[in-house]
Symmetry: C2
């Protein structure tokens, strides 16, 4: 049984553990009117997230050295200023808005599933989010990480292989002793290429009505789960 | 009040959170006879720990590139082989013995104090122990870290300033927003030089009857506590 050798679960976070789109829309709908903003916060969340991969790609291509995700989010937020009328926000407000990524809510099954999984496995984030972002998110939402790993610790953004290999190496494990958990085919394919085992978890509403991909596993992953509770069942937790 | 600004507590681990000397002696007394070893396990623990600083100093002086603490412990264990008659141990046994540092027990007040402190602050290890060592220790002993930082993540052994500054930077904090908690004057002086706040916690039996230093704070630290419960009281947790 392959799962007998697994010692750690490494998790994608945005979309897999937390529901970034609804979280941003929810907070924006409450906070925005206090700041005089009339925005379609779902469209805002989608636009902001849409700048995520291109910004990281500049770092992957070594166009500007290492820049962590908080800083990339801020660069991207500045880009959206005209489109969404953010020009009247103070610097304090912009910093607060930028840190909305530290305040995302988990999917309803996530924490309960992870509490079960944590009894048997080491749980580590393996996200492109920077350490402070993931730590602050976990404190607020009570996400029970044993360790925060990923892009900033490894110095490489996923799907670069070093993001996975350095993270797993820090846990003192061989790649096949780690199970990468993600709702995204591309993340899992990159993890598998480094030797990690893979678990696809369905998050079919991550992108709301705009979602047209990642509904199903497109490759032969080791596990396919409906949510984290199902994954815990499959791993006998 | 200086403590109003503190956001995170960063902890020395060996001697401050865990009782390495008694833990090694306890496990050795049970495990050794099964392997035919008749050893004074307190003397063995002291000798092994005695090689700790010299080994790290070689890394600090860049004599051999980065070597993590598990590997340094193993080099030091090999050095003790003749003195303590370890020549008959198998490689599996030596690996198990080397990982005894992953299985150290906390001081009796440590976990209870940290559970209280965790309600108010981010708790991060800032140890010379490598990530796997600290993560495995925490899993076994239920030490409630929010994050594992320190030497391996920073790429520098304490008391080098980068060990502190890079760790605190990863939390997204200014140095003065972190409180370094340690039972060792030297560690706290180095942390203070980087701008961290400091809490001296007394561990007067860390070195057993051989202890002849670090009974008292030798400098003006921000807090002096009898144990972690006392520290939690002083920080209103």
């Amino acid at each position: 049984m392959p799962e007998m050798e697994i010692r750690a679960l490494t998790f994608d976070v945005f979309g897999t553990v937390v529901d970034w789109r609804n979280s941003i829309a929810r907070e924006g709908a409450t906070w925005g009117p206090k700041k005089g903003l009339e925005i379609d916060w779902f469209a805002f969340a989608d636009a902001w997230r849409g700048l995520y991969q291109p910004a990281m790609e500049k770092v992957r291509e070594d166009q500007m050295g290492w820049v962590n995700l908080d800083a990339l989010h801020r660069m991207n937020l500045n880009q959206l200023s005209d489109q969404f009328g953010l020009g009247g926000l103070s610097e304090t407000d912009l910093k607060h808005l930028n840190q909305i990524w530290h305040r995302l809510d988990p999917w309803p099954d996530a924490v309960a599933g992870m509490e079960r999984l944590k009894q048997k496995f080491t749980l580590a984030s393996l996200s492109n989010g920077n350490v402070a972002l993931i730590v602050n998110m976990a404190k607020r939402a009570r996400i029970p990480w044993d360790m925060v790993l990923g892009a900033e610790v490894a110095g490489h953004y996923k799907p670069q292989p070093e993001a996975y290999s350095i993270s797993v190496g820090l846990l003192g494990l061989e790649p096949q002793q780690a199970l990468m958990v993600a709702a995204h085919n591309g993340d899992l394919v990159a993890a598998a290429a480094v030797g990690l085992r893979t678990a696809f978890v369905r998050r079919p509403t991550e992108y709301g009505p705009n979602q047209d991909f990642d509904f199903d596993p497109k490759h032969k992953f080791d596990f396919v789960a409906e949510d984290f509770l199902d994954l815990a069942d499959q791993l006998d937790c």
